[in-house]
């Protein structure tokens, strides 16, 4: 069965460049999360969607970060004017139902390197 799919797997950007990271959640999963994982650290919450509604974006570090899920399935995390401190692995996760199944299923992530 298909899991959470993220692309690209690796992204190298020059400082100041805009990037877009894609997440395909497990089919039928209502909830979608983005996390940022710095080297040697645990994942840090960025934002959460329930279907197409972005219900929590409290973890987005600045207004350069923007996420969307317009049709309640695929999501895109966009980072504008990238900075070196944005270098990290960006993980996407989905869950079936916010009430009955709280396990998050993670993708393999996009490793972003800003030079």
């Amino acid at each position: 069965g298909a899991g959470v799919s993220q692309s690209p797997r690796y992204k190298v950007a020059k400082r100041g460049q805009d990037v877009a990271l894609r997440c395909d959640p497990i089919s039928g999963h209502v909830s979608l999360f983005w996390y940022q994982q710095a080297l040697g650290q645990g994942p840090e919450f960025l934002t959460y969607f329930q279907n197409e509604a972005q219900l929590d974006k409290s973890g987005l570090p600045s207004d350069r970060f923007f996420a969307e899920r317009p049709e309640g399935s695929v999501s895109t995390l966009k980072i504008q004017r990238t900075q070196q401190e944005d270098s990290a692995v960006y993980l996407c996760a989905s869950s079936r139902d916010r009430l009955r199944n709280e396990k998050l299923f993670f993708g393999s992530g996009t490793q972003l390197s800003v030079l």
Binding site: F33, Y35, G42, R98, E102, F106, G109
Partner: protein, 113 residues
């Protein structure tokens, strides 16, 4: 600061021995806890979870223990195998109805042959 943390950043055990990975949390209102395993270059993989109304839960070769009195969570892995080598994270939901998981820093488990 992070309230979900681990006592030991690294743990080395002999193959076949049992492993115990510990985790402390500070929020007494946290009602759901989960352990993830993360291998190099991969996303976190679900191992086992437990709700705050339970003290113990067992899976295949893994057991999670929750001590709410001292706000302590542990993951026990029986008969450790080379494939168990990874970084293990505990995570919590800090209140009933919370959606996001708050992760600890992680413990790297190394299996010696």
């Amino acid at each position: 600061g992070e309230s979900v943390g681990l006592h030991l950043p690294t743990l080395s055990v002999q193959e076949g021995d049992n492993s115990i990975i510990n985790c402390a949390y500070s929020n007494s209102a946290s009602d759901y806890f989960i352990w993830y395993k993360q291998e190099s270059g991969k996303g976190p993989q679900f191992i086992i979870d437990i709700r705050s109304n339970m003290d113990k839960r067992q899976g295949q070769r893994v057991t999670v223990l929750l001590n709410k009195t001292v706000k302590h969570l542990s993951l026990q892995i029986a008969a450790t195998q080379p494939g168990d080598s990874a970084v293990y994270f505990c995570a919590e939901k800090r209140f009933q109805g919370a959606q996001k998981l708050v992760f600890g820093q992680g413990t790297r488990l190394t299996i010696n042959p």
